[in-house]
């Protein structure tokens, strides 16, 4: 998993409440054998005018010019600004996979759906909860200012506006630790790599036939 320490990036404002995971990544794209490849189908029904099918070349599809992510000024956005209850609906981990692959590193909203919130951390995507009025202020600034950027500092737990105003956010200490160090379950287990290696040596001494038979 990618570590998250500090990030400065272009903000895309998605001004809708209750965005559910079926809108983030529609169900027809879940059949894949892959954990990647979902980026082009992020927000598929809003982003394109035709009906999305798995395996299409999305670069040839007609775009919905009105959708915020399709506007030229938001190309390359990596901070998603959203409204309350973002990520509600099914538990599909494909939702954070799609957002992450599209290029988002963090989502700022007044509230998130529980499972989506958890899934995001597992995939190196930082969901930040700010107060309703703070999010409102950010929406106003982002829409008014082309090239509007925010800086997120995970260690300091702050979001900094271009004018220097800072908002603080809360985060669970364990999740913060994992994200700062880029640790997933595997990463955490690998922190015990020396112990695993030591165990392996002793295991091999006792049962040498368990090693090297298959090549």
């Amino acid at each position: 998993m990618k570590a998250f320490t500090q990030h400065t990036g272009l903000v895309a404002p998605l001004d809708r409440a209750n965005v559910d995971t079926d809108q983030i990544i529609p169900k027809q794209f879940l059949k894949s054998i892959k954990r990647t490849g979902f980026g082009p189908n992020l927000f598929d029904e809003w982003r394109y005018l035709d009906e999305g099918k798995p395996g299409q070349d999305c670069s040839q599809r007609p775009l919905n010019k009105d959708f915020v992510l399709n506007q030229p000024r938001y190309q390359g956005a990596s901070v998603l600004l959203a409204r309350e209850n973002f990520g509600c609906g099914s538990s599909r981990e494909h939702a954070p996979w799609a957002l992450e692959e599209y290029g988002f590193r963090t989502i700022i909203a007044p509230s998130f759906a529980d499972i989506f919130f958890n899934n995001s951390f597992k995939n190196g995507l930082l969901p930040i909860v700010l107060k309703e009025e703070e999010v409102d202020a950010l929406f106003k600034q982002a829409e008014a200012t082309e090239g509007y950027q925010l800086t997120v500092d995970l260690a300091a737990q702050t979001v900094t506006r271009p004018d220097g105003v800072q908002y603080a956010f809360e985060i669970d200490a364990f999740r913060k630790h994992c994200l700062l160090n880029g640790l997933d379950d595997i990463g955490l287990t690998l922190q015990n790599a020396d112990q695993i290696r030591a165990f392996e040596e002793q295991h091999k001494a006792k049962s040498p036939w368990l090693f090297g038979a298959i090549k």
């Binding site: 892959k34 695993i196 040498p208 090693f211």
Partner: protein, 473 residues
């Protein structure tokens, strides 16, 4: 202090570290991979820029998706279904890239994951064995600690050679006495599930013990451990004895001559101590077990061949009554119907439960000199591996089946879960030697009846369920 169970011993042998939250890091000796549950795990490794921890702990094969018809000899390109073909190709590429040993589709060693592990000596007593498939419990027949895992755990094992796990409770299933003639391991395990239910083993590691279990061959013990998961237990085990050691001896990946004695000495310890404590004990008398047939849509809905399908009206519990009614409706059966009156449309002899040489011999003994009944549209025999197929052909079993009107296929999971073209049509009844009779498992609307290989062959040649013992002499 009480002695230790086999499970306690295996657990201790592999515990790397106890974590603060009460879970443990468990070292994994053998990881078996197949095409369905591994692609995202390999992709996860690549995305995180990780390497497999220990290549020589892994072995792979393709089984779930592969066609079982002879045209597959033309190679992977010949797989008609695109998603199946891509999954098979993806495993091939992943194994090639990472240097993992894989038995590809047309390799004679290819077969169902739970058949090839033991066959190759890649499954050994005292090992921890995992695979992204719930029937990994099969390997416990060797006195190994074996269970299925999910895709994220497949990635975790590839990357760390460990799993995060919590220790389970111990349950002993004792089957004492002598099995009647014509009654097999499959009937024992179906009877156990009928007795304790599909959630009876939840949270437990099951050890099958008693004289009837010791009398079974290794094949029979694998059949029993295979279906531990259908009793709700992720782990099923049988203690090591001379049969275990004899079976392992000389297999390709078994310990070499220099290490053999040392290994055998260690393996002989893999039994539960006489004073070991079990949290639960279930007892069955072998003499009382008859050939079993499942009638419903859950493996616990099983009765003896001489019984009648249950009557919901006789069930006082409204929840149970409802599930009997639903199952009867789905299965197209009526209350109190004798099992022997159920006609079969297709027969499937195969799957990781019953596709080993002994299973094929049992079925062939019934098929010999008989013909598949006119009302049976298809009777499939699908060996568990290329080597099982070869052995069966050397014994002439293929000829017996073909002469009787069975189709003799290439190895794979086949009609066990219908991911390849072998499927039931809607409403069709199938006598199947597999392990799950859930709605739609063998094809949408299909009606599965779980039976032993001999019982399946008997249904094939008579066109309905019948006590196999009437056909054996």
């Amino acid at each position: 202090m009480a002695g230790k169970t086999l499970y306690d011993k295996l657990w201790e042998m592999h515990e790397v570290k106890r974590r603060d939250d009460g879970s443990s890091l468990i070292y994994i000796d053998r990881h078996i991979l197949h095409e369905v549950t591994s692609p995202q795990a390999f992709e996860g490794l690549r995305l995180a820029n990780r390497q497999p921890w220990r290549i020589d702990a892994n072995i792979a094969t393709v089984d779930h998706n592969v066609p079982t018809t002879p045209d597959r000899k033309a190679g992977v390109q010949a797989i008609a279904d695109e998603t199946s073909r891509i999954q098979v190709q993806t495993l091939d590429e992943n194994c090639d890239d990472f240097g993992i040993l894989e038995f590809k589709m047309n390799d004679v060693r290819q077969g169902i994951v739970h058949v090839i592990g033991p066959e190759q000596g890649a499954t050994l007593p005292g090992m921890t064995v995992v695979c992204g498939d719930s029937h990994t419990s099969t390997h416990g027949a060797f006195g190994a600690l074996a269970h299925g895992i999910g895709t994220s755990e497949v990635e975790h094992v590839l990357a760390t050679q460990c799993l995060i796990a919590k220790k389970m409770k111990n349950m002993q299933v004792r089957v004492e006495g002598k099995l009647p003639f014509g009654v097999t391991a499959k009937d024992i395990v179906l009877a156990v599930i009928g007795k304790i239910g599909t959630a009876g083993g939840t949270g437990y590691a099951l050890e099958f013990a008693g004289s009837a279990i010791r009398d079974l061959s290794m094949e029979g013990r694998m059949t029993i451990c295979n279906m531990a998961i259908e009793a709700g237990a992720r782990v099923g085990m049988v203690a090591v004895d001379e049969k275990t050691i004899e079976y392992v001896k000389g297999r390709p990946y078994a310990p070499s001559a220099e290490q053999w004695e040392q290994a055998v000495a260690q393996w002989r310890e893999l039994v539960s101590d006489a004073d070991a404590h079990f949290d639960a004990v279930i007892e069955l008398k072998a003499e009382e077990i008859k050939p079993q047939v499942s009638w419903g849509t859950s493996p616990e809905m099983v009765i003896a061949v001489d019984e009648r399908v249950p009557d919901p009206a006789a069930e006082a519990d409204p929840v149970k009554r409802g599930s009997i009614e639903r199952a009867l409706k789905y299965m197209g059966l009526s209350a109190n119907q004798p099992v022997t009156e159920i006609k079969v449309d297709r027969v499937f002899i195969g799957s990781c439960t019953n596709s080993r040489i002994e299973d094929l011999r049992d079925a062939a003994a019934v098929a010999k000199g008989r013909k598949v009944a006119a009302n049976v549209k298809q009777a499939l025999v699908v060996p568990g591996s290329g080597l099982v197929k070869q052995q069966a052909e050397a014994e002439g079993l293929d000829k017996i089946f073909i002469e009787a009107g069975f189709e003799w296929r290439e190895p794979g999971c086949s009609m066990c879960l219908a991911m390849n073209p072998d499927k039931l049509g809607s409403g069709e009844h199938c006598a199947s030697t597999s392990n799950r009779n859930f709605e739609g498992r063998q094809g949408a609307g299909g009606r599965t009846h779980l039976v032993s290989p001999g019982m399946a062959a008997a249904a094939a040649v008579t066109g309905h369920f019948v006590d196999v013992r009437e056909l054996l002499n």
